[in-house]
Amino acid sequence: MKKVGVFVCHCGTNISQTVNCEHLAEVAKDMPGVVFSTEYKYMCSDPGQTMIKKAIEEHNLDRVVVAACSPRMHEATFRKCLSGTDLNPYLLEIANIREQCSWVHSDKNKATAKAEDLISMSVAKALKNESLTPSVIPIHKRALVIGGGIAGIQAALDIADTGYQVDLLEREPSIGGKMAQIDKTFPTMDCSACILTPKMVDASQHPNITIIASSEVEKVEGYVGNFDVTIRRKATCVDPIKCTGCGLCSQKCPAKTDSEFECGMSKRPAIYSPFPQAIPNIPIIDQTACRYFQTGKCKICQRICTADAINFEDQDELVTIRYGAIVVATGYALYDHRDKYGEYGYGQYTDVITGLDFERLVNASGPTMGKIKRPSDGQEPKTVVFIKCVGSRDATKGHEYCSRACCMYTAKHATMVRDKIKDSQAIVFYMDIRTPGKNYEEFYLRAVEEYGVTYVRGRVSRIYMENGKLIIQGEDTILGTQVIVEADMVVLATAMEAQPDATEFARKLGITFDQNNFFNEAHPKLRPVETFAAGIYLAGACQGPKDIPDTVAQAGAAAAKVVALLSKDEMTTEPIIADVNINRCSGCGFCVPVCPYKAISLKTLTERVHGSVAWGPTGREVTRQVAEVNKGLCQGCGACTVNCRASALDLLGFTNEQILAEVDAL
């Protein structure tokens, strides 16, 4: 026989003023299974807890029901109290007679009757409670940071500085990301490379950081503390150990193609490093451009390489590495206006460029050596028009959201035009000016007041060429007139959007994404860097558009979460998780798609079954599939239990039996 003890709390007068606690303690004695009951002024106080402990000992209680405030308040307290005894903390039940009884009712008789019911529900449930033990999973003390932009670099450095090993994975030949392409950063106007490259060097020289460039995630298995990540190292045809980074191969390579880093505004060889400060500074061969791979003849680079580092037989390699935690810092892509914005010429005007193109044009090491020259004829543009919100805040052609950084970088660009080109005119077409950041508004005002940038509030409806000029037709909604501007160059502030492969990547990791394909944080306010998958964290623009300061801050936060996880040797998981009765499981797999954590998989069993059927031998062996719950991944929501028609899945702590007992108790 189970022995239940009932402890009724007065909560000062919070409960006792509307509920007759003495009466409750008295009637509880007659409830099935109850062998002891009492009441006390403050059950959660030390004397109250001592009273519970003593009663457990004296009356050999094996279940405890505390009738007090909400379990959200003191369930943890009383569980802890039970752990101090021989009882398992999960043998506790709380009857919420304060928030859901004494505080919401005024008729003392009715409230007392209800409290009695609540206690009898809890007693009925408690009788079905079983001891639950948290399971322990080991934490593998190595982190993976996916994406080598500023977010990834910052996260990797922060984790590595605390002493943990970090692998920094980058799919391009060099880390650096978008920030490496940017010329100056707002609002301070310091040189982007000057602040980024030292961090890149730090990362490459850090004893705890391994940079894995030209590589991508192939597959992710496992769970928090124990992710097995398979990485595809793409064939680069250059042995990174032998290569000295002398750069001779790139100089001599006869094949040329558009440089991605320079946004196609200059050429690069087929064997190349994307930019001079690349890290690792090892060139790779772009097989689509390489003369040898395309025609079977050339191999100049191999002939001149003194280090013998060129290997044309290089193949993709797969390696699987175990990590305790993962930071996703895969960044963003830029909205391509060319197939959407017909009114801006569908990309047919070479002098209509994007903000990133402009960054390269204005950069001292860019294709024009920092002189602003328009791409079509290399002339210095005198009138430059900037159009904001291209693809942002435009539900018909682009995205509904605001890309957050465009107002600031457009102000920066316009300032630079005014600064670098004599007698120039910079005109910005905008919808709103959004400058929520430290010194941002000041920066914008400086553009207007000191640099004389013209801001026109309105959309541009058409751009066309006339007599070698770009004609920008738009409206000024403040003056209420049509505006027609003749310009030499137009810069579009195109939207930041999710990487094109973001959804596929999210599925690989088991994380979720929003309607714009940005990865979902676990809670928009309170868990901004966690994902729903334990042990996987987000940093930077992969979670949503951000500027550099926000990205770096989030990277630091993600690193702190990783370090907190890795600092433990093992972690205990909440024992309120789903449990499979394999004897009942028919392997239909209906639990698998409803699990938000990918915690359920099917495994194959082989067993002998009794019984003969006309066409099979008696005692034959059959294989069948059954569900298996990963204790590390399951968070205990119980959605699977409802989709399991055979009740083969049950949720410990909230079992079908327990809930039915509560229903039946009334």
């Binding site: 928030e99 919401v104 009757a113 019911d117 009898s120 729903f532 409803v594 409802v642 009334l666």
Partner: protein, 161 residues
């Protein structure tokens, strides 16, 4: 008191009859909302009972039918608003399942006023109060539920006297 028949006939019991309502509340939203109603001292009928479940996705329709079998006069299944589920997607499945369940119950003659599904967030203490009060008020004129009810085992077949 507990063991008395759950619902006396409203015509014979003299005082005003309150229907017994069972609420299945997800612990992250609706249960928290009910606690908030308590913190704000919002009064509602004493005949409301709440069963805490981790997520509305845990509320098996079988529990609901069982509640009606056991003599509850109304059942409320409540959870986080779609999109706000602590477990990301649980309530989306709840919504699908209960869209069907409500239709099925009505099809077999269960008064739709007796069975509700509602999203009540942790900040919606007043909504919790409002929904259970409305449910109670809507059921009161209907009288005790007899449909699907199984308080006494009925004997089928057999000599009847």
């Amino acid at each position: 008191m507990t063991n008395q028949p759950l619902a006396d006939n409203p015509n014979t019991s003299g005082q005003e009859w309150d229907p017994k309502i069972l609420v299945f509340a997800c612990q992250y939203c609706t249960y928290a909302g009910a606690d908030l109603a308590g913190l704000s001292r919002l009064q509602y009928p004493t005949t409301t009972r709440v069963i805490r479940v981790p997520c509305s996705g845990r509320t098996n329709p079988q529990f609901v039918i069982r509640a009606f079998q056991k003599g509850f006069d109304g059942v409320l299944v409540a959870g986080c608003h779609p999109g706000d589920c602590h477990f990301a997607t649980g309530n989306y499945f709840t919504r699908r399942r209960y869209l069907l369940m409500t239709r099925l119950m009505e099809f077999v003659g269960m008064d739709p006023r007796r069975f509700r599904v509602c999203w009540i967030s942790g900040s919606e203490g007043p909504k919790f109060q409002q929904v259970v009060t409305e449910l109670t008020d809507a059921i009161r004129p209907l009288g005790p539920n007899q449909k699907l009810r199984d308080i006494e085992p009925s004997v089928i077949g057999g000599i009847s006297r």
